[in-house]
Symmetry: C2
Amino acid sequence: MTSAHPRTALQLRSLVKDSGELEISLTRVPTPAPAPNEVLVRVEAAPINPSDLGLLFAGADMSHAARHGTKDHSVVTARVPDAALRGMAARFGQSMPVGNEGAGTVVEAGSSEAAQALLGKTVAALGGAMYSQYRCVPHEQCLALPAGATPAEGASAFVNPLTALGMVETLRSEGHTALVHTAAASNLGQMLNRICAQEGIALVNIVRSDAQVALLRSLGAKHVCNSSSPSFMQDLIETLASTGATLAFDAIGGGKLAGQILTGMEAALSRKATQYSRYGSPIHKQVYIYGGLGPGPIEIGRSLGMAWGVGGWLVTPFLQKIGPAAMQRLKQRVAAELKTTFASTYAAEISLFEALDLDNIAIYGKTATGRKYLINPNKDVGNQGSG
Amino acid sequence: MTSAHPRTALQLRSLVKDSGELEISLTRVPTPAPAPNEVLVRVEAAPINPSDLGLLFAGADMSHAARHGTKDHSVVTARVPDAALRGMAARFGQSMPVGNEGAGTVVEAGSSEAAQALLGKTVAALGGAMYSQYRCVPHEQCLALPAGATPAEGASAFVNPLTALGMVETLRSEGHTALVHTAAASNLGQMLNRICAQEGIALVNIVRSDAQVALLRSLGAKHVCNSSSPSFMQDLIETLASTGATLAFDAIGGGKLAGQILTGMEAALSRKATQYSRYGSPIHKQVYIYGGLGPGPIEIGRSLGMAWGVGGWLVTPFLQKIGPAAMQRLKQRVAAELKTTFASTYAAEISLFEALDLDNIAIYGKTATGRKYLINPNKDVGNQGSG
């Protein structure tokens, strides 16, 4: 088989030194040859998800980051605070590739039938190191995109869609009937609105600005609460009482919101109580924290009875728990509804070089709604491949 | 059947008005006649557990309580803060009896064989309203005490023993191997040390003074950490690493301790990690909050990966979950080991009148280790019965 791709290609890396210095750089790595069950993907679109920023920035203060070197050979440095540094010893000195998911063209395939079947196709892939020009992945980590779909349209086919579907599966398996979601105007939040509308599940959207309220309402969302409003707690309790939601997925974590949701659920439940219990409502109220958009500690108030839980939630262990057949079912649904239910939008498409630009970092590092960036690792690299 | 007991007798009551005023008083209630499956217990010992104080004081500020009336007909009043008042609407205006558990003599029994079998016996009972001279309860809520055991020895046969046994059962059913306990010098904590020693389970005791460290060490505890020590976090992490504890039961709730335990568990686990994961250790870390000794919000730091949970835990739903056969097995164990494993100690025995004394309230309201009070509802009431 002849290779139409260069022998070495660019990859974005993140390195934390034990001194607490973070270094983000581009490095040139050998283009791998696929094993029999693998395919080589020329990555043309990879989103910068909040879940990528933890590995990329390592909790460093990027507002004081510095950029060294030339445009084509630059290194961004920043300091990781001591608190974030604890628990990071296992990555000290290791230059780590970044990028949970992406999409592109299969330019080479291993000898297996399943791998060969993907040759020339546009695929989405999950597996890390996607901020690379070329990435070798097992064929089962790929999703062949429907005819006509572009890499940009398939770039976010895994993390957000499977997370949103995982939330709904969790709701069902844990016996809840309605759902709360925070940072709800995000791409993920918009998907979740479409899924819940399809499946008749009441969804309480929590956002933090009137603009986000308007955005979600324009997309047909029925229940939207603005956490910046002075009447937030009353609005939330009303909405929780009318929907009966006892499960929340919270992207924020730090601060008071997770606790406010539990307190609101308890207040909504205790309204319906026919007799007083010193232990509060016996109905279990659960908040799963699946992101860390909010810094600082999580603060949970105490007017929530005894039947409650808060905990971390990640899509990967969830997918392991449901097994490969169920995961395959979810993936097929994503492919079929890629341009509708699971459509994503991006503020900009940038190259690997532009990903190291401090002005860009200041924007995509904020993970603000409507400011999601897409990296195209093969943008502006015409003269970079060494064939 | 002739009754050797008065037709009416005293009962302690707690009332919250919608104005936020708390009223604690003694009232005279008709002595009930047992149904076929019930027994009438002359209550001679009932502990004031932290779990009773929520109903009794309703979160009121007892340091500003006032006492009105005469010694024999007094009422204690205090103000419930607005924050605590929320969610309490279902008890407004209801005069509620108090006292989860107690022990005494069966002075009358219903017609059923099981009830008759208890006549004249000293029993412990669970069921609320135990701060009463006489209390009618279904026979299955009683535990016949072994020969020679006094009501005082059996007064705490339910809440603390079943809570401690429930913790160990939870550890097993959720797949943990070692346990953390806070406020660990309490009667409950001492029981838990004896149970864990018997069963070979490593127990990490967290206390907040050197005196409590010394007390637990004198009772044979191996692992004791003092949260007031400047080296607390290091000590805790060392102990968590050596024991492998990933489950904690926390009596305190408010403040930072629950979060510190999770952070310490994650730090202990990440020491053993062979490769870095941006999501932290995949091993689940759990803190169950079963009490509310600490006021204020629960604060959970963020260096704990994603595999963690915090939630409320109560012994009653736990017992319902394990079912009557398992509960019976636990009760029989408590009876057999009442004077050893499950022995409790009390600072004082007080009458119902003395329970309304502000100086006593100032002591038992603090739920301090070594200051647990026992109410004897039939103390000093010789001239109170109206036959």
